[in-house]
């Protein structure tokens, strides 16, 4: 509850809808609000009556930005609505941010007005926030199927601590709404990035190949990229993480960073000035920023300008100085202009023609300290970027302090 537990000192509470959102039919707005009141009246002695003029206890309105109280709204997302505890004047009033997309459905493309109204009316009746995940009074919006919506016991305990149970033995506190509300199906695919409350359940993927030993002399890599000053080495579902901040090599799994990405990348590279890493697998690619996957991915690699004959790439590396990314396929390579987001003319070219001493396909590529490192099997080839000249050959895992 709110401090000093403000409540309505009567059982008959009035409400008035001052205006409407253009996002929905007025009838749908009125129905959503009426159902939200019904939710609370079914578990308390309170009765709610709608009035159409003058001052009501609970005044409901839609507004954007500054709207006459000290709590301006913040545009799309962020704060969706707020409401005041019982009292005179603004007390009990509920305000909804018109910059949101309001809907009667339960989808990711808008906020369900019934759910948000029911939450805000909890405040209008005197409830504060609950930290019980799944309770209606939990502060964060959860897209929930609202057919047969039921109050969480925590909500019922809270409101009945203020007003007691309903007088007559009414329907059980669970609210069985007639399934009259068509809910737009929530898109089948789950949101790609993990929402913070879900912990990756320990999936038991089909038994992945064992993690090779760091200093296995035959160790090869699928892909390698930098990421915000660190270097990540990928093999099957495993990642080795080399950081300038720690001396130890950290061993992780791809799943622990990007649970929805598939293992076994073909290539990866970082465009540092966009804080973006791109991962390639077969004829698709993903873009991530830190832990979150950019929306709209995966995309076909043809979007980058590859001919349809190219079904996968072997390796990729971004040259920070020239803002060009080199893609390696078989014995050829392409140059992609990150500024114009297009393949450069005159490509593909033979790798051996431009990188003397590199006469075989490349598994993975890395740019570090003014050199390219091309990995092929258990060897890596250090190449001077400017002169495109082979400098030396080392074991692939020389980065692991073996």
């Amino acid at each position: 509850t709110f401090p000093q537990r403000p409540t309505w000192k009567k059982e008959d509470v009035t409400y008035r809808i001052l205006n409407y959102t253009p996002d929905m039919l007025q009838a749908d707005v009125e129905e959503a609000i009426a159902r939200a009141f019904q939710l609370w009246s079914s578990v308390t002695p309170l009765r709610f009556t709608r009035v159409y003029g003058g001052q009501a206890d609970i005044m409901i309105s839609f507004a954007a930005g500054f709207h006459g109280d000290f709590y301006s709204f913040d545009g799309p997302g962020g704060t969706l609505a707020h409401a005041y505890p019982p009292g005179a004047g603004i007390g009990g009033d509920a305000h909804f941010d018109e910059d949101e997309n309001w809907t009667k459905f339960t989808t990711y493309s808008g906020y369900n007005l019934f759910l948000v109204t029911a939450h805000e009316l909890g405040h209008s009746l005197g409830l504060g926030h609950s930290n019980v995940f799944g309770a209606l009074m939990y502060p964060i919006y959860m897209a929930t199927d609202t057919r047969n919506y039921q109050l969480h016991q925590d909500d019922i305990d809270g409101i009945q601590a203020l007003y007691g149970p309903p007088k007559e033995s009414s329907a059980p506190p669970t609210k069985a709404f007639p399934p009259q509300e068509p809910t737009e199906m929530i898109p089948a695919e789950a949101p790609t990035e993990m929402s913070p409350r879900e912990e990756p359940t320990e999936m038991t993927p089909s038994k992945p190949p064992q993690r090779p030993d760091d200093c296995d002399p035959h160790l090869t890599f699928d892909a390698i990229t930098t990421l915000r000053g660190e270097t990540l080495f990928f093999k099957d579902s495993y990642v080795w993480r080399r950081s300038p901040y720690f001396s130890e090599i950290e061993r992780d799994t791809i799943f622990s960073f990007w649970p929805s990405l598939i293992a076994g990348f073909d290539a990866a590279y970082e465009v540092d000035n966009k804080d973006r890493v791109l991962f390639f697998k077969d004829d698709q690619y993903w873009a991530v920023s830190g832990y979150s996957i950019d929306p709209g991915f995966p995309k076909p690699i043809q979007n980058l300008g590859f001919p349809t004959s190219v079904r996968k790439i072997d390796a990729a590396v971004h040259n920070r100085n020239t803002k060009r990314t080199y893609f390696f396929v078989g014995n050829k390579y392409w140059s992609f202009n990150e500024n114009t987001q297009s393949m450069e003319r005159g490509y593909p070219r033979k790798i051996a023609a431009d990188f003397r001493g590199i006469s075989h396909p490349i598994d993975a590529a890395l740019q570090k300290n003014g050199y390219f490192y091309f990995f092929h099997g258990s060897k890596q080839y250090e190449v001077d970027i400017k002169k495109k000249k082979l400098i030396r050959i080392m074991k692939s895992n020389s980065w692991f302090n073996c």
Binding site: T79, H119, G128, Y141, P196, R228
Partner: protein, 81 residues
């Protein structure tokens, strides 16, 4: 992962605003930067505890993600005003 530097500043500003709005964080400019950071860490701990996150007092990615979720504008804690 390390956070891209300019993003780190943005995130810090965002978190300050969030804690002011919902956890009664008041940034009192003191001479001691450490004291400001402690105040903020305390409020981050309060928010992490409310949402059942690991209580570290640090603005880590999970805490920041939680702050960015769409939500109600009423504070989670408040001395009535």
């Amino acid at each position: 992962f390390p956070v891209a530097p300019e993003k780190e500043k943005e995130d810090m500003q965002f978190a300050k605003k969030y804690l002011e709005n919902f956890y009664e964080f008041k940034e009192e400019k003191t001479l001691f930067k450490a004291k400001d950071l402690n105040q903020m860490s305390d409020k981050i701990r309060e928010m992490q505890s409310f949402f059942g996150l690991e209580v570290t007092g640090e603005l880590n990615p999970k805490t920041l993600d939680m702050m960015k979720q769409p939500r109600c504008g009423i504070p989670d804690v408040r001395s009535y005003s």
